[in-house]
Structures are given as C-alpha cells and as structure tokens.
Amino acid sequence: MKGWLTAIHRLASPPVFYRVAGGLMPWCLALALLGGAIGLGWGLLYAPADYLQGESVRILYVHVPSAWMSLTIWAAMAGAALVALVWRTKVAEVLAVAAAPVGAAFTAITLLTGALWGRPTWGTYWVWDARLTSELVLLFLYLGVIGLHRAIEDPRRAARAASVLILIGLVNLPIIRYSVEWWSTLHQPASVRLTGSSIHPSMLWPLLVMAAATKFYFLWAWLARARVMLLATESHKQWVRELLEGARA
C-alpha cells in the first residue's frame, strides 16, 4: 500500500510521468493495432450476419465500442479533473484536458456509424430519441471543454476552468447510460452485460476484442497528447531543456 502511494506521488512529477508514459505508449499502440486488426477482421469478415439486420450488423463492431469509449473517456477526464482541482497537480490538469479531442472523435464516430446503421435498420438516419439526443449533447459538451480550454491563454488556468466544466458535465453520463431504460424510445437497451449477455458468443467476442482495442488506442492517444502538452507547459524547465539537448545530440 505504502509503495503504491509513493509510486503515484512520483508519477505526479512531470519528468517522471513523461518517461513512464513514453515507456507505456508503444505497448498500448501495439495492443491497439493488434486488437483492432483481429476485432475488425473477425467482426467484418468472419462473424455471422444477423438474421434481422443482415450485414449491416457489422457496423456495430465499430459503433458499440465507440459509444462505450465516449462515456469512458469522459469518466477518465472527470477523474483527472477531480485530482487536478483537489491536489492541483500539473500532470492531472494536462491529463484532464488532453483526452477531450479523442473523446469528441469517438462521440462523432458513434453518431455517424449510428446514423449509417439506423438508415437500413430503423429506416431513418436520425430520430429525436433520448439516447441519440443525449449522445449529441455529449458531443457538444466535449466541444465546450475544448473551446473553453483554447479560449484561456494561461495553460494552467485553462486546464482548471476546463476541469470544473468536466465535473459539471458528469451529470450527463448517467442520463445517457440509463436513457434507454427511463424513456422507452427507439434505441434498444444494452445487450452486453457483465452477467448474462443476450447476444451470441460468435458476435460477443469480436465486440469485446474491439472494446479492448479502442481502450488501448485511447490510452496511447491520451498519453501522447498529454506528453506533448506537458512539454509545452513546462518548456522553461530544466528537464525539458535537458531532454531537448539530449534529442539534438
């Protein structure tokens, strides 16, 4: 327990984080590429077509993991934002805002693939259904975080203001998660659960592989963006100068 705490404390130091993140990144990328290749190949080529949805069910191997990521990333940002506001550590501030563009991209992918899937299956690209609307709101929240962060010049102030907004936006997560249960509109409830999933293993497994691959991709992108932002905010510090000199030499 003691060892863990000191390890976390040490990670809050920018140079240590920079080094550790740099060491983790290749593994995350390798796992993401491997998982993505397996999951996409399996889902798009080998998994069976659905007897109701036909071949269009394959869109869901991208749609569902992206939708999970759109929520997971906000939760991850909120965790970092809380740490940033309570302990005021630079690494947490950078982590909180660095994930926003990745989250916005996953949310946009969710909405786009959902529209493409909805056209053949529901007969429409878009309906004003509770889950669709709350996912759209999530996209606007992501854009709001990015916009607020860019509008404030001082990087630390910008990160702290964005952190407050991230924590406020947390309200939207349960609304999206439970929207299909509270309001029974068009979008179907979840069929993948921790216990007793209602989809066949031949479709479940590629989906889970894709879910893992998107998580590792996010980790890679998150760490990469955080490292660059950390370099920018710490550019006047000794460790950055030494790093740059080492890179030049």
Binding site: G144, L148, R160, I175
Partner: protein
Amino acid sequence: MRPGRAFLAALGRELGIAWRRRGELLQPLLFAALICAMLPLALGPEAARLRPMAGGMAWIAALLAGLLGLEALFRRDAEEGVLDQLLLAAVPLPLLFAAKLLAHWLAFGLPLALLAPLLALWLGLPPAALPTLLAGLLLGTPLLSAIGGVAAALTVGIRGSGILLVLLVAPLYLPVLIFGAGAVEASLSGLPARQPLMFLAAALPAAAVFAPWAGAKALRAVAT
C-alpha cells in the same frame, strides 16, 4: 462580518445595480416577445398549428432570452476590480456567489418566468395548461440561472466570450427544457404533469447546494 449579513449586503448591492440599469432588464423580455412573434410568421398563423407548440415555444423564448444577461454577469465586476475584492473577502466565496445567482434570477429569471406564460397564451395555449407552465418556469428558471452563472464564472476574463458561453450553457440547459416543456406537453394531453415537475423541484435544492460551490471553484480556478 457575519455570513448572513454579508449575503444580504451582496444581494442588496446586486439588486441596487440591477435597478439602476433597469432599462437593460427590459431587453430580455422584449427579445422573448420577439421570438414568439416570429413563430407565427415562420410556421403560419393557423391557431390549430400553433396551439400544441405554444408551451414549448414559450420555454425556448425564456431560455434564449435568459442567455442575454449572462455574459455581463461578471464582466463589470471583473473590469472594476470588484471580483478581486470578492475573492479576498473574509466571507466564504460560495455565499457571495449564491447572492449573485439569486439577484440574477430575481432580475432576469423571475420576469421571464412571469412573462413566458403570457406569451404562450398569446400563441394560443389552452388556459388549462397555464398553471403547469408557470410552475415549471418558476422551478426551472432558477436552475437556468444557476447553470448559467457557473458557466459565466468559467468564462470570466475571456474576450468575446459570448458564443463560447452559449456553447457551454446550452447542452446543460437541455434537461431543464426537457422536463419543463414535457410537463406542459403532458398536461395538454391530459396526463399528470407531476413527475416532470417533481424532477425540477428535486433538481432545485441540488443546484442551490452545488452551484455556489462550483461557481466559487470556477472563479478561483480562472482568477488565480
């Protein structure tokens, strides 16, 4: 100074300033009326078409008009150095922030909440749905003030923050709109409107607790 007296002093100051600029207080009301006047021009003046939309339209008018006063909420305080004094004051900042929110609601939210039902009647809302609309607005506009106030605190000191503020606030306004307009919709179709109103009534004390705290956090995050 005791916290209670500081709260009242801050509230009195805000209301005094609002009263001295009472011309500005009319602008959101005129804007809301204009939005409602545009609706028949855009959709056609048939009463049968306007009637089912009247309640929702009054909500949208109140919501959009409420955005007008937000940008100015902290601008003058920031320019004149009042904000720095508030941050340094020996009184808890959330308390002063709560006074600010209450004053903003009294000056902007309450007039809109009282005007919007009249606008809805003007568009042909059946009078039977009027109490539901008014109750929803009276419960919902303080929530709008609370959300808007926190967002305004986040954008203090950003030049030309108007559009950004709208982008931040609008997604967070949607739940209020859903329940407020949903209550009118329910009462129009003869269903009980209690449930959506209860949601608003439950959100109000939660906002009263969290908004001053979040707003104070936001001011400190941006200002220090």
